[in-house]
């Protein structure tokens, strides 16, 4: 039943771009500017470079085990028990990420746009939409992504063009006033937040229609997503300045509110909200789809679709419980970034080292198939 859910390379590229852009527009400028102030753009540049390296490692790791998801890889390398435990940790990570993205939407809507609406209502509705999409399957998700992609890019371009007149180059000065350590620390947030999270795609790569996604095809969305990160962080600094970017919870939203062309073209933050909802929706759907498939594979079930209703109730409750309030949620950022990075190190790096050692001990060639 699940074998029919295939996506083309083009659709996978669209999903990769949506995933990288995801929910970064709201949190990433604050985190990077929190460490590197007006040098946040340098941190973003460095982070994108390092992040592309990390994502290439994830791609390379996946290509060592063709046709296998990360759950299969863990089982293949570490056996049923130890592999199962690592897979369970991976699934907890996916579940928490999916719930966090729903919570991010809920917090934003109830603090900025619909302040009278209870958080639970937004969480319930968004979780329902996401889980309905998950139940429809990856092919439907990918086609929906293709439909919305052009609109997403167009709105993003309009937003950037309209923000350019609001930017003040003096806000970026003095350049490189922070130590290299601060800039690297800022860059690590960029590495962690979209790029380390891309381990999710190890559940999706085996579902490609074509034999495999080439490294060149994989790099294009990484570079486009990286460009979006650098543009958003740099514009936040140029338009709002380092202090406002650090202290505003949704700095890009505040930035978009500043657009005013001749006191006529105003309140264009809605464009940003549409884009934000779209990209976060896709990121959340991809994450929870991977979670459902992973759960099904780990426990050897027949079809993941059956589980979507209980998972909906679970994710709805968990996205509320995950944080007591928006301030606590925002404070989780650094620890969450470390969690993302440790996942790449342990769930991928450690597993590959064990695989290499097993190959050396058995005297076999160092590839799996």
């Amino acid at each position: 039943m699940q074998a029919e859910q295939r996506v083309s390379v083009r659709q996978m590229k669209v999903l990769l771009i949506f995933f990288i852009v995801g929910d970064l527009m709201w949190y990433l400028p604050s985190y990077t500017a929190g460490v590197a102030d007006q040098d946040a753009w340098m941190a973003a540049l460095l982070g994108v470079g390092l992040g592309i390296g990390v994502s290439s490692f994830i791609y390379w790791f996946g290509s060592r085990f063709p046709g296998m998801t990360i759950i299969d890889i863990h089982r293949h390398v570490l056996g049923k028990f130890a592999g199962g435990i690592l897979s369970l940790l991976f699934l907890i990570h996916l579940m928490s990420n999916g719930s966090a993205q729903i919570r991010v939407i809920g917090d934003f809507m109830t603090t900025q746009m619909m302040t009278e609406t209870p958080l639970r209502v937004v969480l319930f509705l968004f979780a329902a939409v996401v889980l309905i999409s998950v139940r429809m399957g990856l092919t439907v998700i990918a086609r929906t992504g293709q439909v919305f992609f052009m609109m997403f890019m167009l709105l993003f371009t309009i937003l950037i063009l309209l923000l350019i007149p609001e930017s003040e180059p003096s806000k970026i000065l003095p350049i490189a006033s922070h130590s290299a350590a601060d800039i690297i620390r800022g860059g690590l947030f960029v590495v962690a937040f979209p790029y380390c999270q891309m381990t999710v795609f190890l559940m999706l790569f085996p579902l490609l229609e074509e034999e495999r996604l080439s490294l060149k095809q994989y790099m294009i969305p990484l570079i486009i997503g990286g460009a979006v990160i650098i543009i958003v962080v740099t514009l936040s600094i140029l338009v709002l300045g380092a202090y406002m970017t650090q202290h505003q919870l949704y700095s890009t939203y505040t930035m978009a509110k500043k657009i005013s062309i001749g006191n006529f073209l105003q309140r264009l933050e809605a464009i940003l909200v549409i884009n934000y909802l779209l990209s976060t929706y896709f990121k959340c759907v991809i994450t929870l789809y991977a979670f459902c498939r992973g759960l099904t594979q780990l426990f050897g079930l027949r079809d993941y679709r059956v589980l979507t209703l209980p998972i909906f109730l679970f994710i709805f409750g968990y996205s509320y419980v995950i944080s007591t309030n928006v301030v606590f949620f925002n404070s989780l950022g650094p620890a969450w970034a470390l969690w993302e990075m440790s996942n790449v190190i342990f769930l991928l790096g450690f597993v590959y080292v064990v695989h290499l050692l097993k190959g050396l001990i058995k005297g076999k060639p160092l590839h799996s198939s």
Binding site: P310, Y320, F328
Partner: protein
């Protein structure tokens, strides 16, 4: 109250339309996992709707990564 009824309706629907057929078809493993997820899901949903304070599991992250956080956090 209506929200609790909605959760109750969803639970009954899940039980009758999905869980029972799984048991009838003999998919015991699927049914057991379904039941566990449903029970935890209903518990969390009801706590959310009735505004019961549950501790955030994410607080564990701050405890686990505390030694590293000193050098990393802004």
């Amino acid at each position: 109250m209506s929200a609790t009824l909605l959760i109750a309706f969803l639970t009954v629907t899940a039980f009758v339309w999905e869980l029972m057929p799984l048991f009838k078809k003999g998919f015991i493993k699927d049914a057991m996992l379904y039941l566990v997820l449903l029970m935890v899901g209903v518990y969390l949903s009801v706590c959310t709707i009735l505004l019961f304070d549950l501790p955030s599991p994410m607080a564990l992250l701050n405890i686990i990564f505390k030694p590293l956080l000193k050098g990393f956090a802004p």
